[in-house]
Every structure is written in structure tokens, then in C-alpha cells.
């Protein structure tokens, strides 16, 4: 059955150029929920410009997308993390060569209540705060106030990334409050004086204060802005990926070119992510 589908895809790939125009792309994108709004915007704009295109976008999580690539149920897997080594091996075993394309970057900012005088922290201090070793703001140069840690839910990709890159793979404190959405983190941090949380830079507004972060034991502190993330000065930045199998590259090339074009990257910036150039 799988082979039949595979053969059919191959045949379609050969037949396609003779019957349709080059710009028309019919594809499925599946995976990370972080990439979801961005992919939807790409698909919307592209379909408007190229009549007859049908690009469907599905969420479900990065792992789900890569799994779908393995079972050939999607053309593109969107992922907010790099493909894991064992996922790569699985694809290799299935005889599939995968191409990785970075479509944008996403910077994570650490935010506190606007009235909090603390405005910069080192990675080590952040690790202490989020794992529960540091529990009072006076331990990091602030007022005598209990630290309230807000985190995203354990299953979110943002949680995983923050845990891996800021907490050095250690687990969050059990007392951390887990919220289901970034909007909820902003709301809660804005109304809790001792709060600290983490959100994508696109979500920073006047209700919360973003913290400057140092990854060199406090020598230099960098403000989380799109410009700093673009110039690679800001360290808590993760690439967002599209993965596709090399055999279907021809079908989706116009779409991929569009994403990496000036226009595509303009959409990236407009949606609050960091462009690749």
C-alpha cells in the first residue's frame, strides 16, 4: 500500500511539469505549532498570488510533522527544533534523503513585571531561578520579593527549547506555574509583581518588561530585540525549519523560493519572527 502511494507520488512528480504551470504548488505542511501562524501566512499569500495552488497547513507538534514525513503523509515537515539524530536515522533507514531549510528564527525573551527593578540576568541566574534554586529577587540584586516562575506546558516546544538552552537540560522547579499559551504568560506576568516568564519576542509589549541576558557570566548583556537576534548577538534564538524529502523538491521549489525571497522574509518580519537575512 505504502509502495503504491510512493509510486503514485513519483509518477505525479514526473507528469506534473507537463500538465501544470511551474508556479502552481500543491503541498501539505505539517508539524510545529510555533511555525503554524507563519506557514499559514506563507500559504495564504502564495495561493493568492498563484491561482490553483493548494497548500494546506496542519499543526500537531514538531515530532508529529517529522513522523508524517517518514510515513509520506506530508510534503513538508515544519519544526521548531533541529531534527533529532535518531529521527534522521529512521528516515535514512526508510531510504529517504532529507533536505533542511531554515525559514526564519524565533527569539525567546525572558520577561518580568514592569515595576521590577531587575533588568539583566545571566544564564546561570536564569537557570537558578527556573529550577528553583533562587527563590527571592534579592538574591539577584532586586527587592525582597518571592520569585513566581511562569512556564509553558510541558508538552510545548517552547518549554523544551528553554529547558535545553537556558536550563542546561535540567527540569523546571515543581512550583513553576504552567500556562497553556503565550498570551496567558503575558497576562499573568503583567499582573504579578514577582513574576518571571518567557515568551517569543513578537509578544513583548508594554505590559511586561524584557530582561537583558548574558551568556558569558555577566560580561555582556544583550537586549532581546529582532535586530539583535538577526545579528546573532542575542543568544536565546532558535531556527525554525522546513524539512522535505529530496525527491519531491521539484514540486515545491517555487514555494520554497518564495519563502526565502525578499517578499517571503518580509512576511517573517511582519509576523514578529526574525528573518534569515
Amino acid at each position: 500500500m505504502k509502495q503504491a502511494i510512493w509510486m503514485f507520488t513519483l509518477m505525479a512528480a514526473f507528469l506534473a511539469p507537463s500538465t501544470v504551470q511551474a508556479q502552481k504548488v500543491v503541498a501539505k505542511i505539517k508539524g510545529s505549532d510555533t511555525c503554524l501562524p507563519l506557514s499559514q501566512k506563507f500559504a495564504e499569500v502564495y495561493s493568492q498570488k498563484n491561482k490553483g495552488s493548494g497548500i494546506s497547513v496542519l499543526g500537531g507538534g514538531s515530532g508529529v510533522g517529522i513522523e508524517a514525513l517518514l510515513s509520506s503523509t506530508t510534503d513538508i515537515a515544519q519544526s521548531s527544533r533541529k531534527m533529532k539524530l535518531d529521527e534522521k536515522m529512521k528516515l535514512q533507514k526508510a531510504g529517504k534523503k532529507v533536505k533542511e531549510v531554515i525559514i526564519a528564527y524565533d527569539a525567546l525573551a525572558v520577561v518580568v513585571h514592569p515595576a521590577n527593578p531587575v533588568s539583566k540576568l545571566t544564564r546561570e541566574q536564569l537557570e537558578g531561578i527556573f529550577t528553583g534554586k533562587i527563590t527571592n529577587w534579592k538574591q539577584v540584586g532586586g527587592p525582597d520579593m518571592k520569585i513566581i516562575v511562569y512556564s509553558r506546558e510541558t508538552s510545548s516546544g517552547t518549554y523544551e527549547f528553554f529547558k535545553e538552552h537556558v536550563l542546561n537540560k535540567k527540569n523546571f522547579a515543581p512550583s513553576a506555574l504552567l500556562l497553556a499559551a503565550t498570551g496567558a504568560v503575558v497576562q499573568s506576568v503583567s499582573q504579578t509583581k514577582g513574576a518571571i516568564g518567557y515568551i517569543g519576542v513578537a509578544y513583548i509589549d508594554k505590559q511586561v518588561k524584557a530582561i537583558d541576558v548574558s551568556y558569558d557570566q555577566g560580561k555582556t548583556f544583550v537586549k532581546p530585540t529582532i535586530a539583535n537576534a538577526k545579528s546573532k548577538k542575542y543568544p536565546v534564538t532558535r531556527p525554525l525549519y522546513y524539512y522535505h524529502v529530496t525527491t519531491t523538491e521539484r514540486n515545491i521549489k517555487p514555494f520554497m523560493d518564495f519563502i526565502l525571497s525578499k517578499e517571503g522574509q518580509h512576511i517573517v518580519q511582519a509576523e514578529g519572527y526574525v528573518p534569515t537575512f
Partner: protein, 396 residues
């Protein structure tokens, strides 16, 4: 004549089948719940296809999930703390291997990885390795640790809930069960007296005009979507509680209980009022005729008569509160800690299931654990129903 008989038979058939279908649907859901949840125990808390390895001279054979988490979180840093030699623990994953060996050793399509793992683990007695099982060679010179299994005690008495922790996930549901019970208990404590008083007022004291205004408004309360209650709670109630008690954080069990109490009120009031109003007029008149005042009649005749209906209101109120998900998810903060006061965040079972099921890999250990949580919830409500059924007095 025969047509009428036939249509009657048909009507009976429809009635019969609809009640049968409902019963079957309930049984099917219960069956599905148990089938999906069972099989959690004796699963390993380490993700499938992964393995833990140590050096051959390491005396440790197995570590518990808790010990593994402490090691990988950096709380346990020496082998002597878990009964081994006096050596510092070194954590090794595929990333360390990849950074220790060059491209040539790892191989173009990673075929050299097992050899690198063997080489590294053989030379580092202090190391504990966490790898995909395919990266460990078949003739590995070191030792595979016995992977910890999830036991009944770990599950029901465990106090930490880290369902996605690596290498060993923690499924201790005690904080979640306690959180659910605390929030529900306080909600009922608040809602029951208010609901009962309102029901008595509406059915016995309020005049017809007042009732015509109040009753629809209370029923309207039941029609508000729970996410709206949650949002109201998050932006109004949570900051209010924080200021009122001078707390560091407003997302508390109390906020959840208050929201749940408001949500359970329409159910309690409507059913209790119906029960009170169903008291036969002859009983009331008899009481008044014997010289009892209106108050005495309510207290001594009407309420005892309506007791079973009030009990039903109580059960349905609890049912509404214990299973409520969205509003609680938004206002209780969802920190999986053992509740010690109503003024701290808690995590409830429904909120946990709602927040985690979407991302849990289908059929995996985390998935099963969430269904087992569903079973716990089902058993709690079942027990409450049965208890109330047993203490319910027979109708006179």
C-alpha cells in the same frame, strides 16, 4: 387498527433503542477509558528504544526513576550518593559523543557512532550514558542498566509529575488528585449553602414577579461558556485575590474554587428549587393548619420532604465542579505541587488531561498515564454518587 398498533410498537421500539444506545454509549466510553489507561503499569518510565549504560566496573545495576531524575538534574553528582564508588557522575548523551569525535570517526551516515559510544564508555568509569539503543553496539563492553518500571506505588503515591522528563519521566499523581479534591471541596462548601438559600428564597419566599426576574437570570449563568468564566477569573478574580490577601501570586486554589462555585450555582439552585416546589400543597397546608409558622413549615416539613432532591442537586453540583476543565486550567496556575493552603497554585486532573493529551505521543506511556488519570476521576465521581445514593432517605 393495525396501523395504530404498528405505530405504537414502533414508538416503543424507538424509546427502547434510544435508552439502550445511551447505556451502551456510556459503557463503551468506560470500556475505552479503561482499555487506554490499563497497561501503564510495568511500562518503563524511560522512553522506548532508549537505553542507559554505565562502565563495566560500575557496581550499580539499576536506578529508580527518581534517582535518575536527580542525577540528570544535577542534584546527585557523585556515584557514592546512589550506593556506588566515590566518583563524580558524568552525563553522556549523543551530543557529547558528537562533540568528542570528529566527522571521520562518526561516519558519513553515522555508521561509526556505536564504535564511538563503545570507545567513550570504555574509557570513562564515571560516565552514565543515555542513548538510542541502536547507538550502543551489540558487543558493548559496559553494562546496560535495568530500566525502571512504573509501579502502582510510584503512580499513586509519587509526588512529582514530570511526564516529559528525560531520561526518566515521573508520573506521581498524588498532587493532581489532592489538587482536584481541594478545589472541588471548597467550591462545594461555598456553593451549597448559597445555592440552598437561594433555592428556598425562590421557591417559598419570593413573589411571582421577583421569581420571573431572578430565575431566568440564574439559568442564564449556566449558559455562559466555561472559557468565559476562566477569562473573567484570570483578569478580575485572580488580581483581586492577590490584592485582598497580599499574596505573591493570585492564581490559587481559592480562585479555582470561587469560579467553580459560581459555575455550579445554577445547577444546584435549579434542581434544589424544583425539589422544594414539588412538596405537595396538602403537606404545606397541613403544617400551617397545625399552627406552624411559614418558617417552621419550611424547616420542619418542606426541607425534610425535599431532602433527596437537594441531595441530587449536591451530587450534580460536585459533578459539575470536579470535571470542569477550562476555567480551572486558566485560574489555578497548574503547578503540580502538593496543596498545603488554598492560597497557593494547584494542578487539577481535568486541567492536566486537557493541557497534555494533545501533544502526548499516541499510545505512549504519557498517553496511558493521562487515561489512568481519567479513570481516577471517574472512580471519584462514581464513589460520590454511590455514597449519596446510600445515605439518601427513602421517600415517605
Amino acid at each position: 387498527m393495525t396501523i395504530r398498533k404498528l405505530s405504537e410498537k414502533l414508538a416503543v421500539g424507538v424509546l427502547f433503542s434510544s435508552s439502550t444506545v445511551t447505556t451502551l454509549a456510556v459503557l463503551f466510553i468506560i470500556f475505552f477509558l479503561f482499555r487506554s489507561g490499563i497497561g501503564l503499569f510495568n511500562d518503563s518510565s524511560v522512553e522506548p528504544h532508549y537505553t542507559l549504560v554505565v562502565h563495566k566496573n560500575n557496581p550499580i545495576d539499576h536506578l529508580t526513576s527518581q534517582a535518575l531524575m536527580a542525577i540528570f538534574d544535577g542534584h546527585t553528582t557523585n556515584w557514592s550518593e546512589v550506593g556506588g564508588k566515590d566518583l563524580p557522575i558524568e552525563l553522556v548523551t549523543i551530543d557529547e559523543i558528537a562533540s568528542q569525535y570528529d566527522e571521520a570517526a562518526l561516519g558519513e551516515s553515522l555508521e561509526g557512532v556505536p564504535a564511538c559510544v563503545e570507545d567513550y564508555m570504555a574509557h570513562n568509569e564515571q560516565a552514565i550514558g543515555f542513548f538510542d539503543a541502536t547507538f550502543v553496539p551489540a558487543d558493548f563492553s559496559g553494562k546496560h542498566l535495568v530500566l525502571p518500571k512504573i509501579s502502582l506505588a510510584d503512580f499513586f503515591l509519587g509526588r512529582s509529575w514530570y511526564p516529559t522528563a528525560v531520561p526518566a519521566a515521573q508520573f506521581g499523581v498524588l498532587p493532581l488528585v489532592m489538587g482536584t479534591l481541594w478545589v472541588t471541596f471548597l467550591a462545594i462548601l461555598i456553593a451549597l449553602p448559597i445555592g440552598l438559600i437561594a433555592a428556598i428564597y425562590l421557591s417559598e419566599i419570593a413573589d411571582e414577579r421577583m421569581r420571573k426576574v431572578l430565575k431566568p437570570v440564574i439559568e442564564l449563568l449556566a449558559g455562559i461558556p466555561s472559557v468565559v468564566y476562566g477569562f473573567f477569573g484570570l483578569v478580575v478574580l485572580v488580581p483581586f485575590i492577590q490584592r485582598l490577601f497580599g499574596l505573591p501570586v493570585g492564581e490559587t486554589a481559592l480562585a479555582g474554587s470561587l469560579i467553580l462555585a459560581i459555575m455550579a450555582l445554577p445547577t444546584i439552585i435549579t434542581i434544589a428549587e424544583d425539589a422544594i416546589r414539588s412538596t405537595p400543597v396538602s403537606l404545606k397546608e397541613a403544617s400551617l393548619a397545625l399552627g406552624a409558622t411559614h418558617w417552621q413549615s419550611i424547616r420542619l416539613v418542606i426541607l425534610p420532604y425535599a431532602r433527596s432532591g437537594i441531595m441530587a442537586a449536591f451530587i450534580l453540583g460536585i459533578g459539575r465542579a470536579i470535571g470542569e476543565t477550562m476555567a480551572v486550567l486558566m485560574v489555578t496556575g497548574n503547578a503540580a505541587v502538593m496543596p498545603s493552603t488554598f492560597l497557593e497554585p494547584v494542578r487539577t486532573i481535568p486541567a492536566t488531561i486537557a493541557a497534555e493529551l494533545g501533544e502526548a505521543p499516541f499510545g505512549g506511556t504519557h498517553f496511558k498515564a493521562l487515561f489512568t488519570l481519567g479513570i481516577i476521576l471517574f472512580v471519584i465521581t462514581f464513589l460520590i454518587n454511590t455514597a449519596v445514593e446510600l445515605i439518601k432517605p427513602k421517600k415517605p
